[in-house]
Amino acid sequence: MASDRGQSEDFSGPLKRLLLAVLILCLVAIFLIWRIDSPRVERFRAQVVDRVVPQMDWAMAPVTGAVKVLRDFQSYQRMYQQNQDLRRELQQMKAWKEAALQLEQENARLLDLNNVQLDPRLTYVTGVVMADSGSPFRQSVLINVGARDGIMEGWAAMDGLGLVGRISGLGQSTARVILLTDTSSRIPVTVQPSGQRALLIGDNSLAPLLDFVEAPDQVRPGDRVLTSGDGGVFPAGLVAGQVFADPGGRMRLRIAADYERLEFLRVLRSFARERIEDPGHLIAPPQDPTPDATAEATNG
């Protein structure tokens, strides 16, 4: 017993205790700095992730692939039934494809008639999902494109079907996409066809909440939800999904993107829109050097 006591005294010697206190203070200080100056620490975090995660990539890709194969294996048992389902769906899709082609042609003709300028920002960079957030509490993924590829904070990420999230946290060769389902995700949207503005609020469930609707009674289940670009931070006009009402009667979004399989994400290039700041001037003829001529011109 005596030796035990000696041991514990060794362990809690004053120097060790001091070092321990310093260590804990350091960690708490890091938290405080993060709380005060979040962007700087987040940039540091992005650098750390940028350094660490690509090194694991060589092992991650095969393991992820293997697990997915195993999961798919279960579905092989229902192969026949799936095949039937797929054939039926294919028939329906063919009809839809015909309709889509006709609509596309009609749309092109109408655009041509109206001489419409399409938004030039519809170009994108495609990245592969490398890792997810690693915690059940945060919903984000890391993709393998970053500042090196010209990605910027705040750009939108989509899969082929709809909006997935936005870039937040940027390293040289990695970027973090905050998904719509994350608790910190807030996206301004419009609900079509009523044109209501609303805010899409992630709450760690698969169906984000649609809140701050101007006139909630005009929003019906089944309405389409697009990003609105309010505030000028997030690009406008991207498909997010459809409205549905949860059992509690609140409006939620059925996300269009396939969250079950996020493999490739396209990051849309969106640059800040030009702002029109001044109310507009009188249009005057080219200025003369003589002052009275200028006065006359502005008066006229």
Binding site: S3, D4, R5, G6, Q7, S8, F11, S12, L19, L20, L23, I24, C26, L27, V28, A29, I30, F31, W34, R35, V41, F44, R45, V48, V49, V52, V53, M56, A59, M60, V63, T64, V67, K68, V129, M130, A131, D132, S133, G134, S135, P136, F137, R138, Q139, S140, V141, L142, R176, L179, T181, T183, S184, D203, N204, S205, L206, Y259, E260, L262
Partner: protein, 179 residues
């Protein structure tokens, strides 16, 4: 003899780092990007606590702090806070390790339950005070519970596979006499 003991100590520390790395790796795998309806155990903290009770010298504070901070950064948590609480919990258990040495596993588990509950509540409290976005309470509690349930398994695995067990009084005596 001293050298082999020291070698073994560093080997165990390396194994600890290796397990932590493997856990990070498994967590980061992008298998399912849908938000889960449940939260699995935080195996890292279970492992750290289990080793802190059994062989405190395998989990030196600096190592625990470094690994936990790294996990905070990688897992997109508020950096430093959970690491600080992990460290405080580990130290509290380390302090009580000599007293727990002769007791049953139930006493050991009870001590860990107390510390982990306190740490989780403290973490949530600090997040509330600093007005940080928090995970839903249900998920937090679920993670707490599953960690507590996973603790005996982690302890058993470290005991059986890695030989991390409470030193018998005789071991300690020889270890003390040697240096």
């Amino acid at each position: 003899m001293v050298e082999t003991a020291a070698l073994h100590l560093w080997l165990m520390r390396a194994i600890y780092v290796g397990i932590a790395g493997a856990l990070v790796f498994l967590h980061l795998l992008p298998l399912d990007t849908r938000p889960p309806g449940w939260a699995g155990p935080d195996l890292f903290i279970a492992l750290t606590f289990a080793w802190a009770v059994r062989r405190p010298d395998y989990v030196p504070p600096l190592l625990v702090a470094g690994l936990a901070l790294m996990m905070d950064l990688l897992f997109h948590r508020p950096p430093g806070l959970w690491a600080a609480f992990t460290l405080i919990g580990t130290e509290a258990l380390r302090r009580r390790a000599p007293g727990l040495r002769d007791r049953t596993f139930a006493a050991d588990w009870a001590a860990v339950v107390g510390v982990l509950v306190a740490v989780t509540l403290g973490y949530r409290f600090v997040l509330t005070v600093f007005v940080v976005d928090q995970p839903p309470l249900g998920l937090s509690l679920m993670q707490l519970l599953s960690t507590l349930i996973a603790y005996p398994l982690v302890a058993l695995a470290s005991h059986a596979l890695l030989g991390v067990r409470k030193p018998a009084p005789g071991d300690m005596a020889t270890a003390r006499r040697l240096p």
